[in-house]
């Protein structure tokens, strides 16, 4: 199972996993050699990290996060003292505790057959280690004497956590850019948008945990989990409804196929191709989501026709008919009252370039035409012929930038399909 997972990893992910592996080995070896400093505290935080890993969740865009685990790791890295007792553990011990906690928390997932997302775990470990290596050497200097204020350590903690989160976003963006083949700049924007709210909550909780351990001893570990638990529940619900939403649109887009209006798999293929092209053209995630919804539902207007068009190939039907279907479909989507922009994309999917339709509409127009011509076949000659036709079809119908991007996307997919 692991080897199959390894095959699916990009080089960046492999590099990160190796780095995290080396860190883990170094941390555990170091800790084994000099012994665990403050064993009770280490075990407490390790347990919290494990619990957090157990309760990890998947955010939209298939991003795995474990807010409680991350916050506990940050708290342990930033720990100055526990109930007045100075915490003198080294950065490598932080790494060891994190690694052991993460592995322990991951085991139950493995036991029920959920394969670990090694890259996500490695990223959490790596970012946590960055903070530990930056902060631990300063711990002795920053620890306030009796009666001294806590403002200086608080400031340093805030700055370092901010830097760590920034580094984490950069790593995530690099992985993302490689994984889904989007531009790095776009990936940075997407990752920042996704990470900002949760990152703020995790950072505040991490600092809270480090400070609370000073005045509340180990009770802090118990009490601290509450605010983050609420956050976690909220995000889990949010991620859940987002996933269900997409699945439902995907499923209901298929009614046109079941009703015999379009070929089986048409809407799915068009949406996949459209999203890949959109990404190639540097669209950000919210736009891509709208594009995907619109592509999935681009034929929904056919439901209003009393008789299905044979084969459903809208590229071959006359332009007026196609425009009417687009308008009817947009009307259906507009009924939702919330997907106004998606409706607009669907409505203008047949417009020629002279009407200056939105980019998403152009992409759907080209992707739809391509799929009508190729209809799910993986034959390279047929694909080339279809692309040729889109290229030379007057030049007023299809956006040539879109067609060029599509050629690149299809060129990348072709070797995979041949296998």
């Amino acid at each position: 199972m692991t080897s199959r997972n390894m095959d699916g990893l990009d080089s960046g992910q492999l590099l990160l996993i190796c780095a995290a592996g080396l860190l883990t080995i170094a941390g555990i070896a170091h800790t084994a050699a000099i012994g665990l400093v403050g064993p009770q505290v280490a075990i407490g935080f390790g347990a919290l990290i494990a619990a957090g890993e157990l309760a990890r969740l998947t955010m939209p865009g298939n991003r795995e996060v474990a807010p409680i685990s991350t916050a506990a790791a940050l708290g342990y890295a930033l720990l100055l003292d526990v109930g007045g007792e100075p915490a003198t553990h080294s950065a490598l011990q932080v790494v060891a505790v994190m690694a052991v906690g993460m592995i322990a928390g991951g085991l139950p997932h493995l036991a029920v057959g959920r394969a670990p997302r090694l890259d996500a775990i490695a990223r959490r470990l790596f970012s946590g280690s960055l903070l530990a290596f930056a902060f631990r050497p300063l711990a002795d200097v920053l620890r306030p004497e009796q009666g001294q204020g806590w403002w200086a350590p608080l400031g340093v903690m805030t700055v370092l956590i901010g830097l760590m989160l920034a580094a984490d976003v950069v790593i995530a963006s690099m992985l993302r850019a490689e994984q889904v083949r989007t531009a790095f700049g776009v990936a940075v924007r997407d990752e920042t948008r996704m990470a900002a709210p949760l990152g703020a909550a995790v950072a505040a909780s991490g600092i809270l945990l480090a400070l609370a351990s000073h005045s509340m001893d180990m009770t802090a570990l118990l009490a601290f989990a509450a605010p983050l638990l609420v956050t976690q529940v909220a995000f889990r619900k949010y991620a859940g409804i987002r996933a269900t939403y997409l699945q439902t649109i995907r499923a209901l887009a298929r009614v046109t196929e079941v009703g015999g209006y379009v070929e089986p798999g048409h809407s799915r293929r068009v949406s996949r191709l459209a999203v890949a092209v959109g990404r190639e053209l540097g669209m950000a995630e919210p736009e891509l989501l709208e594009l995907e919804y619109a592509a999935l539902m681009h034929d929904i207007g056919q439901l209003s026709l009393s008789d299905p068009i044979p084969g459903g190939a809208t590229v071959l039907t006359d332009a007026d008919q196609a425009r009417r279907i687009a308008a009817l479909g947009a009307e259906v989507i507009r009924e939702t009252g919330v997907l106004g922009r998606v409706a607009e994309i669907v409505r203008r999917q047949c417009d020629g370039l002279e009407k200056n339709p939105p980019a998403a509409s152009r992409i759907i127009k080209a992707a739809n035409a391509y799929d009508d011509l190729v209809s799910g076949s993986t034959d390279r000659d047929r694909a080339a012929a279809a692309l040729e036709r889109l290229r030379f079809d007057g030049g007023a119908e299809y956006d040539q930038d879109v067609v060029a991007a599509m050629a690149r996307v299809i060129g990348r997919l072709a070797p995979v399909n041949r296998l």
């Binding site: 109930g83 007045g84 806590w150 608080l154 709210p197 949760l198 703020a200 909550a201 995790v202 505040a204 909780s205 600092i207 809270l208 400070l211 609370a212 000073h214 005045s215 509340m216 001893d217 180990m218 009770t219 802090a220 118990l222 009490a223 509450a226 605010p227 983050l228 638990l229 609420v230 956050t231 529940v233 909220a234 619900k237 949010y238 859940g240 409804i241 996933a243 269900t244 939403y245 699945q247 439902t248 649109i249 995907r250 499923a251 209901l252 009614v255 079941v258 009703g259 015999g260 929904i300 439901l303 209003s304 009393s306 259906v332 989507i333 009924e335 939702t336 009252g337 919330v338 997907l339």
Partner: protein, 449 residues
Amino acid sequence: MAALRELPWPAKVYFVVLIGAAGVLLARSALAYDRLEWSTLLVLALLFLVCESVPTLLSVRQAAVSVSYSAALAAVVLVGPQGAALVAATAVLSVRPGLPMVKRLFNGAQFAVCGYAAGLAYNWAGGTVGLPQKTDFPEIILPYGAATGVFVAINFLLTALILALAEGVGKRQVPVRNMVQFLVSYCGYATFGLLIAGLWATVQSISAVLVLLPLFVARWAFGQYHAQQRSYEATIAALCQAVETKDYYTRGHCTRVSLASSMIAEEIRMGTERLNAIRYAGMLHDVGKLGVPTKVLQKDGVLTEEEFAAIQLHPMRGLEIVRGIDFLDEAFAGIMHHHEKYDGRGYPMGLAGAEIPEFARIIAVADAFDSMTSDRSYRKAKPITDAIGELRKNAGTQFDPVMVSAFIRALDRVGWQPRTMPEPAEPVPEMAAKDHDDPTTPIQVVSER
């Protein structure tokens, strides 16, 4: 509770008594001004106000919990019962727009009473008022727990009483499971107060920021979640309508079946998650009808066996379409078996009695009811009483008697007010359509042999 004038007199008496009691407690607290930490009190009051102004972090339909009371509980520890009462009374000033004065006064008064009582409970259980010392942990959890328990219990009692007196809202409308969830999260929020109090010694008011930042992020995420959910429901309804556009007479059928199903489910006290699931299942139950040729669906007169087989297939087709969605399994079962009959003579599998999944038994009742109470091309809509009579008559043969009586109870209680569909702009050609859901005109099949 719109205005004091509109309240029934027991509610008025209760209201005045509560305000009076709160007034006395607050006066006593204010008189002890020389013993109070006013700076701490001010910060906590501000905190309380901020939290109170952004409520509904968690909401059951009937009530909203705000985290504000964690500030009141922190005041219990830091400044004692008098302080807690004063902090909590600031609920009167909350900046929620459109909140009537009566509600503000009531909230302020009841929070003040709760705060004072919680403070007394804290002292009684052995807690010491003031900045918690390191040695106080973890023993402080016991008195703090007592304070929380008293606060939540009194708050719950006072609020439930006014709701019962003012609107006659019975307890039975809140499912027990929701209630438990509600109380657990209530107690969860209490720990924030402990965190604020515990951190006060090191970073004073910053502790509030650190505690509340995750909460505000959570609130933001909940907001996103609710927005997405509303958007999701609108979308699923619109798409189901689109599937129905072919037949003018079934317009809005899916939303009405969804509504009736959820009424039954609520009546038999389903939990929130299952309630959502059956709403979606009710909405999507006929999505597979699109796979049945229109001329078969609308055919007048008897059907051939082949045509009947096509109709029988629609629950399976529906299931096939929605299978990729991450619903509860029960929702799928509901869609697949919504045409089973209680005596085992339904389709597609001919299940009987308790073999039929609960969701399917509910949807079957809702489906038939809406079919009977809507216009059809071959007849006008039946009045609700006739439809209920028909359901009663067929209870035990076609329908589960439990679901039928639950539905009748729900109809008695809340009535039947589905959202009316807008009239179509252009006239739709009359079609001699039959409705496969209508129990009064059963499908007749002619044998071809």
